[in-house]
């Protein structure tokens, strides 16, 4: 065990794992995080806290993680490279680890022009792959990237993202391999709507034996309406939403229920794909639905 986190234990034991996302509030009060924690407790092995998602300042992912820990939920802290250089990132990881955080997801982060402070200076001192390298050295060698010894090394389970829907398609598997080489223990994918393309990607992943080197969690995101689906398709970069999904939502008498049902079906499908070790459920501003999705997908065997 590298970190001894629930998530690591679940994945190492071979049990199909579940993670879910919680969006930190744009607020100086942790009340909403506590509400989500109450609603979602027990429905997933660990809960991702996004890091100033879409480049909008929110409560920090580490602070939210500590709130979850206080309520007995296990966090996955997302760390982006957009806002901090290697000095701040390493310092924050030491702090997070001291406060009980074990799972860290290393991301490049959305460019700040997506957010409400487009004019900000970005950092990107490291990219996501370099962040993995730096954190792995902290964990395995007990050293900062500079080579300075740490008194106590952090215990970490390191994650990274993969997007099978971004281009160039062939490069996506090479990039995944690079993330594994750099230190990723688990992978969470971009939300999957185009199953065909995802299966094509997974077969390339299996061809290279990557599914045996890393735990892959397939990303899903329930859609509320055909309008959200259209928005995802047209406005969110690196997303593929097939027209059949948009049509199905448009025709549905209760689009929300249809969106949940579709997500449940997707999870059931993904479960059967060789090399998929779990799902990562993202339901921004719809967190309260996650327990229902987990239950209906038959994944209720969680701790």
């Amino acid at each position: 065990m590298r970190s001894g986190s629930n998530l690591e234990q679940a994945l190492e034991s071979g049990r199909f794992a579940v993670t879910a996302e919680i969006g930190p509030p744009r607020s100086a009060s942790a009340e909403r995080i506590r509400t989500h924690a109450r609603q979602m407790k027990g429905c997933a092995d660990a809960f991702n806290l996004t890091d100033n998602q879409t480049a909008m300042s929110r409560m920090s992912s580490i602070a939210c993680a500590v709130v979850l820990l206080q309520d007995g939920l296990e966090p996955v802290v997302q760390m982006t490279c957009r806002d901090r250089n290697r000095i701040a990132l390493q310092g924050d990881v030491l702090g997070a680890s001291a406060l009980g955080v074990r799972n860290i997801l290393c991301l490049s982060g959305d460019h700040q022009t997506f957010g409400s402070m487009k004019e900000a200076k970005n950092v990107y001192d490291l990219d996501s792959i370099q962040l993995l390298m730096v954190l792995r050295r902290m964990r395995d060698e007990g050293k900062l990237w500079s080579g300075d010894e740490l008194e106590v090394a952090p215990k970490l389970f390191l994650g990274a993202a993969a997007n099978p829907f971004a281009d160039p398609f062939e490069y996506r598997v090479i990039r995944l391999a690079k993330k594994i080489k750099a230190g990723a223990d688990f992978i969470q994918t971009q939300s999957i709507y185009d199953m065909q393309r995802f299966e094509r990607w997974m077969s390339l992943v299996r061809e290279k034996g990557l599914h045996q080197k890393v735990h892959i969690l397939a990303g899903v995101m329930p859609l509320k309406s055909h309008k959200t689906a259209l928005y995802m398709k047209n406005k969110v970069s690196g997303m593929c939403v097939p027209d059949s999904i948009i049509d199905r939502l448009r025709r549905a008498s209760d689009p929300k229920e249809e969106g949940i049902q579709m997500c449940v079906e997707q999870i059931q499908h993904l479960r059967d794909i060789e090399g998929i070790r779990g799902v990562h459920i993202m339901a921004p501003a719809w967190e309260e639905k996650v327990p229902e999705i987990v239950r209906r997908a038959g994944l209720s065997s969680i701790s």
């Binding site: 460019h111 700040q112 022009t113 487009k118 004019e119 900000a120 200076k121 970005n122």
Partner: protein, 234 residues
């Protein structure tokens, strides 16, 4: 001007290994002024490569050319006959020049023989100092004609930090404190009032942070028709 420095010879030798027919290409503009990539440097480097080839038994066949500006297609197009049949072009222009060559000859490996350092000016013979960071929204009018973005080690916009001492920057006694210079410059022009107003957070959208930049001069853009007349592809 763009200031560059030739890469260490050993690094250039390593880059060239595995190639045979090599064209060393210089540029007569900025990098010639800073003694890094002009005609003279091209011929010295080409000679060094030939010497190395005979000493180390490399199959290198080295030719040379220097154009007026390697960042402009017209000049680079003229290199065509010499580029033909080469495995590699070792560009002694700045990174812009090297990329222009690569665009025009996509199958050839263009290798950078220089490190493009910064935008600067000669301070005294042989010494070039960074002057501008190309932020795309100049504020020299507020800072006495001295750029705090490029020349202050922290890119501070509201005066010297606590590390400024005796006109030197906290990072090194070798480095002048840009803000010390700004204060003196504004005093000299009788505009110390400009030092009093806090400058709000800057928009970096016009800098690299906003993504790669592109400048369009409407009056200089030629029409589809004119391009066709010049025989260019649409």
């Amino acid at each position: 001007m763009i200031v560059g420095e030739q890469k260490p010879l050993e690094e250039i030798f390593r880059m060239l290994s595995g190639h045979e027919r090599i064209l060393v290409a210089g540029c007569r503009s900025c990098v010639a002024v800073c003694h890094a990539g002009g005609e003279k440097e091209v011929s010295i480097l080409a000679e060094a490569l030939r010497l190395r080839a005979s000493l180390a038994n490399h199959p290198w066949k080295v030719e040379e050319i220097t154009v007026e500006r390697q960042c402009e297609r017209e000049w680079v197009e003229a290199m065509g006959p010499l580029v033909k049949g080469k495995d590699a072009v070792l560009s002694l222009a700045c990174g812009v020049g090297a990329q222009t060559v690569q665009v025009l000859y996509p199958r050839i490996r263009v290798l950078p023989g220089l490190n493009t350092s910064h935008m600067g000016a000669p301070d005294m013979p042989g010494v070039f100092v960074e002057k501008c960071g190309g932020c795309g929204d100049c504020l020299l009018h507020l800072t006495g004609g001295i750029c705090p973005i490029a020349r202050c080690a922290k890119s501070l916009l509201n005066g010297p930090c606590g590390g400024s001492q005796n006109g030197r920057c906290e990072i090194s006694p070798e480095v002048p404190c840009a803000w010390d210079q700004i204060v003196r410059s504004l005093e000299a022009m009788g505009r110390s009032d400009l030092l009093e107003e806090p400058i709000p957070p800057k928009s970096w959208l016009t800098a690299r942070d906003g993504g790669p930049r592109r400048t369009v001069i409407p009056t200089a853009v030629i029409s589809e028709e004119q391009r066709k007349m010049k025989g260019e592809r649409p």
